[in-house]
C-alpha cells in the first residue's frame, strides 16, 4: 500500500501562479474586520486578538492552494479568485425569528444559538433551559471564559490538522464562536442547534461578496452524551464565501452525535473544516449533508487518540446544475482496537461534479483496527462527473480494513421491479433516487430534521432523474 504524504498550502510556493494565489489569499485576509469593529463588545474579544494576530501572520506567508496540490486536485478556485470578499461588522440587519422559521428545529427549542454573518445574535437565540452541566453560548461571553479557563489554553485552535490555509484564515478572521461544553457524566437528550445564518444582500457593500468565518468549539467531557446540529443557511440573495471551522473534543467514553448541514444559497462558496479529537472509548458520529453552494468543500478530520475508539461518518451530497461539492475525509488511527464505519453517498445531476477522497490512516500502533469505508455515487445525467478516491494507508499488520467505491446510474432492473408493481417509470426513478439518499438521511438523530431533509432531497431529485 502506497503511503502518501501531502501538505497543503506551503507546497505550491514554487508554482508559476504563485503571485496571484498569494495575493488572492492576502486579499481574503485583508477583507477581515479588525476586532475593534468586528464586535460591539470588543473587550470580550480581547483574549482572542493574540490568537487572531498569530494566525494572520501565518496567513501572510501562505498562498491559496491550487489544483497542482494533490489535496485540491479537482477543486475549482476561480470563483474565489474572480471576486473580492469582505467581512462585515456586527450590525442590525433586521433579521427576525420569523425569517428563520423554516430552519426551526422543534426538538431544539430552548437550545438554539444563532449567528448572523459570523456574529452572535442573542435576540434570535434561546439557550435558557439548559440542563445542569451543559453550557451553550458564544465564545465572547465573558462568563464562559471565567467558568472554563482552559477553553483557550487547552481546546480552542488546539486540534491536530488545523494548520491548513483556510483554517488558519478562519482563525485570523473569526468574529465570535459557538461554544458547547458538556460536563462529565452529563447526558443531554435535547439536540443543540447551531444556526449559522448568512445574510448577504443586506450586508455587503458594493461589488464585493460577503465573507463569513463561522467557528464552533465543542467539548464533551468524559462519559457525556451530546447531539448537535451545525446548520449553515442563508437568507436573501448575493454572493458569499463561508469559511467555517468546527473543533470537536470527545473525551474518554463520551458520545458525540454531530449533524453538519450545508444548505447554502446557489451563489455561495463554502469551505468547511471539521476537526475531531477522540479519546479512549469515545464515540463520534458525523452526518454531513451537503446540498447547497455552487462550490463547496468539507474537510472532515478525525483523530483517534485512544483505544476502543469508534467513529461513524455518514455523508450525503446532492448536487445539480454546475455545482461542485468536494469531501475530503481523514480518519487517523493511533491506538489499538479502534473502529470506524464510513458511508458517503453522492447524487449528481446535470453538469455537477462530486469529489470524494477518503483517507484512513492506520499506523503500526493501531493493531486490531476495524475500518470500513464505502463511497457510492449515483449519476443522473450523462454530463455529471464524479471523482472518488479511497486512500487507505495501512502500516499495522493485524487489522481489518475494507473500502469500496461505486459510480452508477439507476439500474433498469430496479426501475422495472417497481413498474411491475404498477408504479410508473418516473415515480419509480424518483423513488429509487430518494431511497438512495434515505439510507443516509434515516440515520439523522433529530426527527424533524430527518423529515425536512427528506422532503428537501425529494424536491431536489424529483423527476430530474428523467433522461
Amino acid at each position: 500500500m502506497a503511503i502518501q504524504v501531502s501538505d497543503s498550502g506551503a507546497s505550491n510556493t514554487s508554482a508559476p501562479k504563485r503571485v496571484d494565489r498569494r495575493e488572492a489569499l492576502q486579499k481574503l485576509l485583508e477583507g477581515r474586520m479588525s476586532l475593534d469593529t468586528a464586535s460591539t463588545n470588543h473587550d470580550a474579544l480581547n483574549p482572542f486578538s493574540t490568537i487572531r494576530d498569530r494566525a494572520a501572520s501565518e496567513v501572510r506567508s501562505l498562498s491559496l492552494p491550487s489544483t497542482r496540490d494533490e489535496e485540491w486536485r479537482f477543486f475549482d478556485f476561480s470563483p474565489l479568485l474572480e471576486q473580492e470578499f469582505q467581512t462585515v461588522a456586527n450590525q442590525d440587519l433586521g433579521v427576525t425569528k420569523t425569517d428563520l422559521e423554516s430552519f426551526d428545529l422543534p426538538e431544539a427549542r430552548g437550545c438554539t444559538l444563532v449567528f448572523v454573518n459570523g456574529h452572535y445574535a442573542s435576540h434570535l437565540s434561546t439557550a435558557d433551559e439548559l440542563p445542569d452541566g451543559l453550557v451553550v453560548t458564544n465564545l465572547a461571553d465573558p462568563n464562559f471564559l471565567a467558568a472554563k479557563p482552559t477553553a483557550l489554553s487547552g481546546y480552542f485552535d488546539k486540534q491536530e490538522g488545523l494548520e491548513s490555509t483556510f483554517t488558519t484564515l478562519n482563525t485570523a478572521s473569526f468574529a465570535d464562536a459557538a461554544v458547547i461544553w458538556v460536563s462529565q457524566n452529563v447526558v443531554t437528550a435535547v439536540p443543540i442547534h447551531l444556526l449559522f445564518v448568512t445574510a448577504p444582500s443586506a450586508a455587503t457593500p458594493g461589488q464585493k461578496g460577503l465573507a463569513v468565518s463561522p467557528r464552533c468549539l465543542v467539548v464533551a467531557e468524559h462519559n457525556s452524551v451530546i447531539t448537535l446540529v451545525e446548520d449553515h443557511v442563508a437568507i436573501g440573495d448575493g454572493t458569499y464565501f463561508t469559511n467555517s471551522v468546527t473543533e470537536v473534543w470527545a473525551e474518554e467514553n463520551a458520545q458525540v452525535k454531530h449533524v453538519r448541514l450545508q444548505r447554502d444559497r446557489p451563489d455561495a462558496i463554502h469551505i468547511g473544516k471539521t476537526a475531531v479529537s477522540q479519546a479512549k472509548a469515545s464515540h463520534y458520529t458525523c452526518h454531513a449533508i451537503s446540498l447547497g453552494a455552487k462550490l463547496s468543500r468539507h474537510n472532515l478530520e478525525v483523530f483517534q487518540g485512544g483505544e476502543e475508539t469508534d467513529t461513524t461518518l455518514n455523508g450525503l451530497t446532492v448536487i445539480a446544475e454546475q455545482q461542485l461539492a468536494d469531501t475530503h475525509s481523514l480518519i487517523a488511527y493511533n491506538k489499538p482496537y479502534g473502529s470506524s464505519s464510513q458511508v458517503h453517498k453522492c447524487i449528481v445531476d446535470d453538469k455537477a461534479h462530486a469529489i470524494f477522497n477518503g483517507k484512513v490512516n492506520v499506523p503500526q500502533a493501531a493493531q486490531m483496527t476495524n475500518a470500513s469505508q464505502l463511497n457510492r455515487n449515483l449519476l443522473l445525467s450523462a454530463r455529471g462527473r464524479v471523482d472518488t478516491k479511497p486512500q487507505l494507508e495501512i502500516v499495522a499488520d493485524n487489522v481489518k480494513c475494507t473500502h469500496g467505491a461505486t459510480v452508477s446510474q439507476l439500474e433498469a432492473d430496479e426501475v422495472f421491479y417497481l413498474q411491475s408493481r404498477g408504479i410508473d417509470a418516473t415515480q419509480a426513478q424518483d423513488l429509487l433516487v430518494y431511497a438512495f439518499a434515505a439510507e443516509i438521511l434515516q440515520q439523522i438523530p433529530v426527527e424533524s430534521l430527518r423529515r425536512t431533509l427528506s422532503r428537501r432531497v425529494e424536491t431536489l431529485t424529483q423527476s430530474k432523474s428523467n433522461p
Binding site: E414, Y417, Q419, S420, R421, A425, L431, Q442
Partner: protein
C-alpha cells in the same frame, strides 16, 4: 382447474423477442384460461425467464413479432406499469432490494396504483395497515417485515414470501411466478406454495416457471409445457413433469427434433 367454458385470459401467438439483438423467443404460442395453472419447464437458456419478462414488459427485451392478448387487450401496447395495474403480476426470481423504502409504503403505493386502475378508492395508511396485516397470514410473515426496507437483508425465502404477499395484495388476474421455488428450503417452499394455492381461484390464472418438479407436488398444474430454444415444444399434464424429473429433457428434445424432421 380446466373448465371448457371459462374465459381466455392470455393468448400468445407467434411471439418472437430479442435482447441486445440476440433472438431469444422464436415463436411462442400459449393460451391460458381463467382458473388454470400452467407450468413452464425447460433447460437453462430455453427462454422461460425471458418469456416472463416480456409478458411483464421489461424494457431490455424487444418484441420483434407475434401477438399477446390479455383479456382481449393488446398487452404489448402497454407500459410495464399499465400491465401491472391491469392485473398482470410477475413474481421475480431475484426480487430487488430497495434500501430506504419501507416495505409497507412500497406495498401501499403498489396497491393503490392497482385500486386506482380498477376505479376504486385508494386506501389510506390506516386502512391499508389493517388489510396488509390480514394478508401477512397468507405467507406466514412477521409484521416486523413491514417496517423494514423492501427486501433489504431478507433471506432468499423471505424475499419470495414477500413476492407472494404482494400477489395477495394486488390480486392479479394473471400471475407469473418466475422460479419462485429456486433457493427455497422445503419449509419455505411449502409456505410459498400454500400461499399461491390460497390465491388461485376460478377467475385468475397462474403461470409457474420452474426447473424442478418439486414445486409441482405442492402447486398442481393443469398443464405442463416444455420450452426449448424459445418455443414450447411439448405440452402435457402434471405427469409430464414427473417424467421430466425421472428422464431429464433429452428425450423431449429428441422427440421434438424428430417431429420437425417428419
Amino acid at each position: 382447474m380446466i373448465r371448457d367454458n371459462s374465459d381466455v385470459l392470455l393468448s400468445v401467438s407467434g411471439l418472437t423477442a430479442e435482447v441486445e439483438e440476440t433472438p431469444i423467443l422464436k415463436g411462442m404460442n400459449l393460451e391460458v384460461k381463467a382458473g388454470e395453472i400452467h407450468a413452464i419447464m425447460g433447460p437453462n437458456g430455453s427462454g422461460k425467464s425471458t418469456f416472463s419478462k416480456v409478458l411483464a414488459g421489461h424494457s431490455d427485451y424487444s418484441v420483434t413479432g407475434g401477438r399477446v392478448e390479455f383479456q382481449g387487450q393488446d398487452l404489448l401496447e402497454l407500459e410495464a406499469e399499465e400491465r401491472a395495474r391491469s392485473g398482470v403480476f410477475l413474481a421475480f426470481q431475484y426480487p430487488l432490494e430497495i434500501p430506504g423504502v419501507s416495505n409497507l409504503d412500497f406495498l401501499r403505493v403498489a396497491y393503490n396504483a392497482r385500486r386506482q386502475q380498477q376505479g376504486l378508492e385508494e386506501l389510506d395508511a390506516f386502512d391499508f395497515d389493517e388489510l396488509v396485516r390480514e394478508k401477512l397470514d397468507v405467507v406466514k410473515m412477521d409484521p416486523s417485515f413491514l417496517t423494514r426496507s423492501v427486501n433489504e437483508g431478507f433471506s432468499g425465502g423471505e424475499k419470495k414470501r414477500n413476492e407472494i404477499l404482494q400477489m395477495a395484495l394486488l390480486e392479479p388476474t394473471l400471475a407469473i411466478l418466475d422460479e419462485t421455488d429456486s433457493g427455497l428450503d422445503i419449509d419455505a417452499l411449502k409456505i410459498v406454495a400454500n400461499g399461491v394455492n390460497q390465491l388461485a381461484n376460478e377467475d385468475n390464472a397462474i403461470i409457474l416457471i420452474t426447473h424442478y418438479q418439486r414445486l409441482l407436488d405442492y402447486i398442481v398444474p393443469d398443464y405442463v409445457h416444455v420450452m426449448e430454444k424459445g418455443r414450447i415444444i411439448r405440452t402435457g399434464d402434471k405427469d409430464l413433469a414427473h417424467e421430466l424429473e425421472a428422464r431429464g429433457y433429452d428425450w423431449v428434445l429428441q422427440d421434438a427434433a424428430e417431429t420437425v424432421e417428419v
